[in-house]
Subunit: 241 residues, 2 copies
DNA sequence: CTCCATTGGTCTGATTCCAGACTTTTAGAA
DNA sequence: TTCTAAAAGTCTGGAATCAGACCAATGGAG
């Protein structure tokens, strides 16, 4: 039988839209996520433009926008560059509700579902592999990094831990998907107060994830990630409207 | 600790490159995948351009390229449009080896890993949900469609079945990711001869996937999908060099 | 102090891509 | 037959983006 269906997912947008805006967004996320830490320097313009696949002109416009918004400090000359001048503010009461409602229920649901699928998938895939000693060391290192993190570094190292799992699979596509998923919830996560109780809970879950992966147990890895993400997801959904 | 890492996945390309080429590729995939079946009409230019997020001019260039390559027949006037004039040729001996080696080992591995992660993730997520009767009916329908398919429709309906799982999660991001994953292996799948033995085997696996989802058993759903995809993946990897 | 490598800053011409108005063709309805 | 609606085809001016050459500042090496 035919069952005519639009399969609309295949005829989706070819390009995300405006290169300038996309770039601003991307850089902003890199800053907010702490990929480039406070006080650190972004890569040189020429290099960064190449990485992002855009022209230097467009990149510079984006950088200037971020400079004018107070995220970057740009200095010229040798050893100059664009330095991150931004520290995530401590979330204040009401920030979370505001952030959740700015996003809208369907977009939030989309992002959470997507994140759940790709991060569980990544963990499962990784747990199905023999890891090299180096990979094991990296994973363990990321785990201990986040466990020893102070409040100001917590989000950043938590992100690094999560993305590390996807990157260790060796699939750039999968790593990009997980990064994208994370980006879509960054603002929300940044609006959640960091409580030591939650940190401890997360630490246990992170440890369970790593253990399942190292034990080559895909089901447990999947479950551990699902459980970990479900906590955050439930919290966020609870703030809807 | 800091553990400085590039986290290169965040500073990946903002745009995929050339809008024209991207569009050609996308349309070609829609044709090869049978999203728009042989003899059927593509959506009108204006509508399609809007869906793809590009201008009509660019779309028309892409359509013309496909017309000149013999994939489309464009007719004007009312009830006109771009009609698909293409039937996937039966794969011939050596096609598969050629296709695999054209792609290169790292890209192949990337695609297979990505597909494994997102499709397993989608199935897992869906199996964790209460489905509406309509959704259940859709899933069952897609299953029977592919089971009853003739050789000429098999790939098309197989694609529809796989994507259906992602689309039923209600997450456009996840659906897009699965569609993307499928696109990256289309040429390879099309080069695999369709053997009735394989079809039967796949049918059993498809049934197992649906059953696990309907029984709300995420672990089994995940495993069923993993097993199903692993078969194809192993076959393809076997053809490397 | 001088030089120079490295980095941001600027300019120009070309190319791509777009939005939208207008034209032509066609099949069916009246 | 004539009219009409829906579709492809065409044209134009402008905005976005790019590639690449060149300028200017700056901090360290010698």
């Amino acid at each position: 039988m035919m069952t005519e269906s639009p399969l609309v997912s295949l005829l989706r947008p070819v390009r995300s839209g405006n290169a300038f805006e996309e770039t601003v967004e991307r850089l902003l996320q890199a800053i907010k996520l702490g990929v480039v830490a406070h006080g650190a320097k972004m890569p040189p313009e020429r290099e960064l433009a190449a990485q992002l696949g855009i022209s230097r002109v467009t990149l510079r416009e984006a950088i200037r926008a971020l400079q004018e918004s107070g995220y970057l400090d740009v200095r010229r000359g040798r050893y100059g560059g664009a330095f991150v001048v931004y520290q995530p503010p401590d979330p204040r009461h009401g920030d979370l509700r505001r952030a959740v409602n700015e996003m809208g229920p369907s977009e939030l649901d989309d992002a959470l579902t997507f994140r759940m699928a790709v991060e569980c998938g990544a963990a499962q895939v990784l747990a199905d592999r023999d890891l090299t000693p180096t990979q094991i060391a990296t994973l363990r290192r990321r785990l201990s990094d986040v466990n020893e993190a102070g409040p100001s570094d917590y989000r950043r190292l938590d992100t690094a831990f999560h993305l590390c799992i996807a990157e260790l699979t060796g699939s750039p596509l999968l790593a990009a998907a997980c990064a994208d998923a994370r980006l879509r919830v960054t603002d929300l996560l940044n609006a959640i107060p960091i409580l030591s109780f939650n940190i401890q809970h997360s630490a246990d879950q992170h440890a369970a994830i790593v253990e399942a992966i190292l034990n080559r147990d895909p089901d447990r890895a999947r479950q551990a990630v699902a459980e970990h993400l479900e906590g955050t997801a439930a919290l966020l959904r609870g703030f809807l409207a």
